[in-house]
Amino acid sequence: MNPHEPFHNPNPPEPMTEDFAALEHELRNALRPVDPPPGFADRVLARVRQLEPQSTESGQRAAEPKRARILMFPKFRTRLWIPSAVAAMLLIGFAGEQARVQIDEHRKAVEAQKQFETALQVTDRALEHTRLQLQRAGISFGEE
Protein backbone atom coordinates (compact mmCIF):
# COMPACT_ATOMS: atom_id res chain seq x y z
CA MET A 1 0.00 0.00 0.00
CA ASN A 2 1.33 3.41 -0.93
CA PRO A 3 1.48 5.42 2.29
CA HIS A 4 0.85 8.63 0.38
CA GLU A 5 -2.51 7.42 -0.84
CA PRO A 6 -5.48 8.62 1.22
CA PHE A 7 -6.65 6.15 3.75
CA HIS A 8 -10.04 4.83 2.77
CA ASN A 9 -11.65 1.99 4.55
CA PRO A 10 -12.56 -0.67 1.96
CA ASN A 11 -15.51 -1.60 4.16
CA PRO A 12 -17.01 1.73 5.20
CA PRO A 13 -19.03 1.73 8.42
CA GLU A 14 -22.69 0.97 8.26
CA PRO A 15 -24.87 4.03 7.68
CA MET A 16 -26.24 5.75 10.78
CA THR A 17 -29.76 4.95 9.62
CA GLU A 18 -31.43 4.24 6.31
CA ASP A 19 -32.64 7.85 6.31
CA PHE A 20 -29.10 9.14 6.09
CA ALA A 21 -27.71 6.61 3.60
CA ALA A 22 -27.80 8.97 0.59
CA LEU A 23 -26.40 11.87 2.56
CA GLU A 24 -23.64 9.70 4.02
CA HIS A 25 -22.71 8.48 0.55
CA GLU A 26 -22.47 12.06 -0.71
CA LEU A 27 -20.52 13.10 2.35
CA ARG A 28 -17.92 10.39 1.75
CA ASN A 29 -17.50 11.64 -1.79
CA ALA A 30 -17.37 15.28 -0.71
CA LEU A 31 -14.89 14.62 2.07
CA ARG A 32 -12.23 12.77 0.10
CA PRO A 33 -8.83 13.83 1.45
CA VAL A 34 -7.17 16.50 -0.63
CA ASP A 35 -3.50 17.21 -1.22
CA PRO A 36 -1.96 20.24 0.43
CA PRO A 37 -0.48 22.84 -1.94
CA PRO A 38 2.73 21.61 -3.67
CA GLY A 39 5.93 21.99 -1.65
CA PHE A 40 4.13 21.58 1.67
CA ALA A 41 6.74 19.22 3.13
CA ASP A 42 9.57 21.53 2.03
CA ARG A 43 7.91 24.48 3.71
CA VAL A 44 7.44 22.55 6.96
CA LEU A 45 11.08 21.42 6.91
CA ALA A 46 12.21 24.98 6.18
CA ARG A 47 10.29 26.19 9.23
CA VAL A 48 11.85 23.41 11.33
CA ARG A 49 15.35 24.48 10.20
CA GLN A 50 14.49 28.11 10.85
CA LEU A 51 13.26 27.34 14.36
CA GLU A 52 16.12 25.04 15.35
CA PRO A 53 18.90 27.65 15.75
CA GLN A 54 16.46 29.90 17.60
CA SER A 55 15.49 27.15 19.98
CA THR A 56 19.19 26.41 20.57
CA GLU A 57 19.86 30.10 21.18
CA SER A 58 16.85 30.46 23.42
CA GLY A 59 18.03 27.36 25.27
CA GLN A 60 21.38 29.05 25.81
CA ARG A 61 19.64 32.26 26.85
CA ALA A 62 17.51 30.28 29.27
CA ALA A 63 20.64 28.73 30.76
CA GLU A 64 22.42 32.09 31.04
CA PRO A 65 20.25 33.75 33.68
CA LYS A 66 20.78 30.82 36.01
CA ARG A 67 24.53 31.14 35.65
CA ALA A 68 24.30 34.90 35.78
CA ARG A 69 22.25 34.77 38.95
CA ILE A 70 25.07 32.89 40.64
CA LEU A 71 27.93 34.93 39.18
CA MET A 72 26.28 38.32 39.59
CA PHE A 73 24.78 37.64 42.97
CA PRO A 74 26.55 40.46 44.87
CA LYS A 75 25.99 42.99 42.11
CA PHE A 76 22.22 42.56 41.80
CA ARG A 77 21.51 42.06 45.48
CA THR A 78 23.76 44.76 46.97
CA ARG A 79 21.02 46.10 49.19
CA LEU A 80 20.56 42.74 50.84
CA TRP A 81 24.07 41.46 50.58
CA ILE A 82 26.03 44.33 52.24
CA PRO A 83 23.97 44.64 55.46
CA SER A 84 23.92 40.86 55.75
CA ALA A 85 27.69 40.70 55.36
CA VAL A 86 28.23 43.50 57.90
CA ALA A 87 25.90 41.81 60.37
CA ALA A 88 27.65 38.48 59.84
CA MET A 89 31.08 40.07 60.37
CA LEU A 90 29.91 41.84 63.54
CA LEU A 91 28.48 38.59 64.81
CA ILE A 92 31.69 36.74 64.05
CA GLY A 93 33.74 39.50 65.72
CA PHE A 94 31.55 39.49 68.83
CA ALA A 95 31.61 35.71 69.05
CA GLY A 96 35.41 35.74 68.59
CA GLU A 97 35.86 38.31 71.34
CA GLN A 98 33.61 36.32 73.67
CA ALA A 99 35.61 33.18 72.96
CA ARG A 100 38.90 35.02 73.55
CA VAL A 101 37.65 36.38 76.93
CA GLN A 102 36.47 32.94 78.00
CA ILE A 103 39.79 31.35 77.06
CA ASP A 104 41.68 34.07 78.96
CA GLU A 105 39.51 33.60 82.05
CA HIS A 106 39.98 29.84 81.88
CA ARG A 107 43.75 30.26 81.57
CA LYS A 108 43.78 32.60 84.66
CA ALA A 109 41.65 30.18 86.66
CA VAL A 110 44.01 27.32 85.86
CA GLU A 111 46.99 29.46 86.85
CA ALA A 112 45.33 30.48 90.15
CA GLN A 113 44.51 26.85 90.86
CA LYS A 114 48.19 25.90 90.33
CA GLN A 115 49.37 28.74 92.59
CA PHE A 116 46.91 27.71 95.29
CA GLU A 117 48.08 24.09 95.10
CA THR A 118 51.74 25.18 95.31
CA ALA A 119 50.95 27.37 98.34
CA LEU A 120 49.18 24.44 100.03
CA GLN A 121 52.19 22.19 99.40
CA VAL A 122 54.57 24.80 100.85
CA THR A 123 52.36 25.23 103.91
CA ASP A 124 52.10 21.47 104.37
CA ARG A 125 55.89 21.12 104.25
CA ALA A 126 56.39 23.99 106.73
CA LEU A 127 53.86 22.53 109.15
CA GLU A 128 55.43 19.08 108.84
CA HIS A 129 58.88 20.54 109.49
CA THR A 130 57.62 22.40 112.60
CA ARG A 131 55.82 19.28 113.85
CA LEU A 132 59.04 17.22 113.53
CA GLN A 133 61.08 19.80 115.43
CA LEU A 134 58.52 19.97 118.23
CA GLN A 135 58.45 16.19 118.36
CA ARG A 136 62.22 16.13 118.78
CA ALA A 137 61.85 18.62 121.62
CA GLY A 138 59.40 16.18 123.27
CA ILE A 139 56.26 18.04 122.46
CA SER A 140 53.64 16.26 120.52
CA PHE A 141 50.23 17.39 119.06
CA GLY A 142 47.22 15.20 118.53
CA GLU A 143 48.83 12.02 119.82
CA GLU A 144 47.06 11.15 123.04
Partner: protein
Protein backbone atom coordinates in the same frame (compact mmCIF):
# COMPACT_ATOMS: atom_id res chain seq x y z
CA UNK B 1 16.49 17.91 15.11
CA UNK B 2 14.47 15.58 17.38
CA UNK B 3 13.52 13.36 14.39
CA UNK B 4 16.10 12.93 11.59
CA UNK B 5 15.10 15.01 8.55
CA UNK B 6 14.60 12.13 6.07
CA UNK B 7 12.39 10.31 8.58
CA UNK B 8 10.45 13.46 9.34
CA UNK B 9 9.96 14.21 5.63
CA UNK B 10 8.58 10.71 5.20
CA UNK B 11 6.17 11.30 8.11
CA UNK B 12 4.98 14.54 6.55
CA UNK B 13 4.47 12.96 3.15
CA UNK B 14 2.58 10.06 4.68
CA UNK B 15 0.16 12.14 6.72
CA UNK B 16 0.00 15.55 5.01
CA UNK B 17 -3.21 14.76 3.10
CA UNK B 18 -5.02 13.69 6.24
CA UNK B 19 -3.80 16.63 8.36
CA UNK B 20 -4.34 19.24 5.65
CA UNK B 21 -7.79 17.86 4.75
CA UNK B 22 -8.92 17.85 8.39
CA UNK B 23 -7.74 21.43 8.83
CA UNK B 24 -9.30 22.49 5.53
CA UNK B 25 -12.69 20.92 6.26
CA UNK B 26 -12.81 22.38 9.75
CA UNK B 27 -11.54 25.83 8.71
CA UNK B 28 -12.82 26.11 5.15
CA UNK B 29 -9.84 28.22 4.13
CA UNK B 30 -6.83 26.93 2.18
CA UNK B 31 -4.29 29.42 3.50
CA UNK B 32 -5.22 29.01 7.15
CA UNK B 33 -5.50 25.24 6.69
CA UNK B 34 -1.94 25.08 5.38
CA UNK B 35 -0.70 27.25 8.23
CA UNK B 36 -2.46 25.03 10.78
CA UNK B 37 -1.21 21.85 9.09
CA UNK B 38 2.36 23.20 9.17
CA UNK B 39 1.97 24.06 12.86
CA UNK B 40 0.72 20.52 13.55
CA UNK B 41 3.81 19.01 11.89
CA UNK B 42 6.11 21.40 13.74
CA UNK B 43 4.48 20.26 16.95
CA UNK B 44 4.95 16.65 15.87
CA UNK B 45 8.60 17.40 15.27
CA UNK B 46 8.99 18.75 18.79
CA UNK B 47 7.22 15.81 20.41
CA UNK B 48 8.31 13.16 17.91
CA UNK B 49 10.55 11.37 20.39
CA UNK B 50 7.55 10.57 22.58
CA UNK B 51 5.42 9.12 19.78
CA UNK B 52 6.07 5.44 19.57
CA UNK B 53 4.08 3.78 16.80
CA UNK B 54 2.48 4.68 13.47
CA UNK B 55 -0.99 4.32 15.03
CA UNK B 56 0.02 6.60 17.87
CA UNK B 57 1.32 9.20 15.39
CA UNK B 58 -1.87 9.02 13.29
CA UNK B 59 -4.04 9.36 16.40
CA UNK B 60 -1.90 12.25 17.68
CA UNK B 61 -2.01 14.04 14.31
CA UNK B 62 -5.80 13.75 14.01
CA UNK B 63 -6.36 15.03 17.52
CA UNK B 64 -3.83 17.86 17.22
CA UNK B 65 -5.08 18.90 13.77
CA UNK B 66 -8.62 19.07 15.10
CA UNK B 67 -7.56 21.09 18.18
CA UNK B 68 -5.37 23.51 16.24
CA UNK B 69 -8.04 24.04 13.57
CA UNK B 70 -10.68 24.79 16.20
CA UNK B 71 -8.21 27.13 17.93
CA UNK B 72 -7.67 28.92 14.61
CA UNK B 73 -11.42 29.30 14.14
CA UNK B 74 -11.74 30.78 17.61
CA UNK B 75 -8.90 33.18 16.90
CA UNK B 76 -10.74 34.34 13.81
CA UNK B 77 -13.98 34.56 15.80
CA UNK B 78 -15.66 32.82 12.92
CA UNK B 79 -18.18 30.77 14.79
CA UNK B 80 -21.06 29.31 12.85
CA UNK B 81 -22.84 28.09 16.01
CA UNK B 82 -24.76 31.35 16.03
CA UNK B 83 -27.12 30.22 13.32
CA UNK B 84 -27.22 26.54 14.21
CA UNK B 85 -30.26 26.78 16.43
CA UNK B 86 -32.33 28.57 13.84
CA UNK B 87 -31.66 25.67 11.48
CA UNK B 88 -32.76 23.20 14.13
CA UNK B 89 -36.14 24.94 14.22
CA UNK B 90 -38.70 23.43 11.90
CA UNK B 91 -39.94 26.74 10.47
CA UNK B 92 -36.70 28.11 9.05
CA UNK B 93 -36.63 30.39 6.06
CA UNK B 94 -35.09 29.05 2.87
CA UNK B 95 -31.96 30.91 1.75
CA UNK B 96 -31.71 31.86 -1.90
CA UNK B 97 -30.51 28.99 -4.08
CA UNK B 98 -27.76 30.58 -6.12
CA UNK B 99 -25.28 27.74 -6.35
CA UNK B 100 -26.64 25.73 -9.24
CA UNK B 101 -23.33 25.74 -11.07
CA UNK B 102 -21.37 24.38 -8.13
CA UNK B 103 -20.93 20.63 -7.83
CA UNK B 104 -22.98 18.72 -5.29
CA UNK B 105 -19.86 17.80 -3.36
CA UNK B 106 -18.60 21.36 -3.13
CA UNK B 107 -22.02 22.57 -2.04
CA UNK B 108 -22.25 19.84 0.56
CA UNK B 109 -18.78 20.77 1.78
CA UNK B 110 -19.77 24.41 2.07
CA UNK B 111 -22.90 23.40 3.99
CA UNK B 112 -20.71 21.35 6.29
CA UNK B 113 -18.75 24.49 7.15
CA UNK B 114 -21.90 26.06 8.54
CA UNK B 115 -22.22 23.36 11.20
CA UNK B 116 -21.05 24.08 14.75
CA UNK B 117 -17.42 23.12 15.46
CA UNK B 118 -18.17 19.99 17.49
CA UNK B 119 -20.69 18.55 15.02
CA UNK B 120 -18.46 19.40 12.07
CA UNK B 121 -15.40 17.75 13.61
CA UNK B 122 -17.35 14.56 14.34
CA UNK B 123 -18.78 14.42 10.80
CA UNK B 124 -15.38 15.05 9.19
CA UNK B 125 -13.67 12.35 11.24
CA UNK B 126 -16.47 9.93 10.44
CA UNK B 127 -16.78 10.53 6.70
CA UNK B 128 -13.34 11.79 5.72
CA UNK B 129 -11.34 9.44 7.92
CA UNK B 130 -13.89 6.59 8.02
CA UNK B 131 -13.50 6.45 11.78
CA UNK B 132 -15.91 4.61 14.05
CA UNK B 133 -17.70 6.47 16.85
CA UNK B 134 -15.42 4.96 19.52
CA UNK B 135 -12.32 6.11 17.59
CA UNK B 136 -13.82 9.58 17.14
CA UNK B 137 -14.64 9.66 20.85
CA UNK B 138 -10.96 8.97 21.65
CA UNK B 139 -9.76 11.76 19.34
CA UNK B 140 -12.31 14.29 20.57
CA UNK B 141 -11.97 13.27 24.21
CA UNK B 142 -15.69 12.62 24.53
CA UNK B 143 -17.92 9.69 25.31
CA UNK B 144 -19.05 7.40 22.53
CA UNK B 145 -22.67 8.27 23.29
CA UNK B 146 -21.90 11.95 22.93
CA UNK B 147 -20.19 11.35 19.58
CA UNK B 148 -23.13 9.30 18.31
CA UNK B 149 -25.46 12.07 19.35
CA UNK B 150 -23.28 14.68 17.62
CA UNK B 151 -23.16 12.61 14.44
CA UNK B 152 -26.91 12.20 14.42
CA UNK B 153 -27.50 15.86 15.17
CA UNK B 154 -24.95 16.89 12.56
CA UNK B 155 -26.49 14.69 9.86
CA UNK B 156 -29.98 15.91 10.72
CA UNK B 157 -28.88 19.51 10.53
CA UNK B 158 -26.96 18.93 7.31
CA UNK B 159 -29.84 17.17 5.65
CA UNK B 160 -32.17 19.93 6.72
CA UNK B 161 -29.91 22.52 5.16
CA UNK B 162 -29.37 20.37 2.07
CA UNK B 163 -33.12 19.92 1.67
CA UNK B 164 -33.37 23.69 1.34
CA UNK B 165 -30.28 24.61 -0.64
CA UNK B 166 -29.93 21.38 -2.65
CA UNK B 167 -33.52 20.26 -2.85
CA UNK B 168 -32.90 18.57 -6.20
CA UNK B 169 -30.70 16.05 -4.37
CA UNK B 170 -31.93 15.81 -0.84
CA UNK B 171 -35.37 15.80 0.65
CA UNK B 172 -36.45 15.91 4.26
CA UNK B 173 -38.28 12.72 5.23
CA UNK B 174 -42.00 13.29 5.44
Amino acid sequence: MAIPEPQFRNLIETHQRMVFSLALRILGDYATAEEVAQDVFLELHRSGERLESEDHIRFWLRRTAKHRAIDAIRRKSNRPEADADEWMEQDYAAPPSNSLNVSTEARLESLLRTLPDGLRAAIILRYQEDMLPDEIAAVLGQSQASVKSQLHRGLTLLRRKAAVTMKEYFREPA
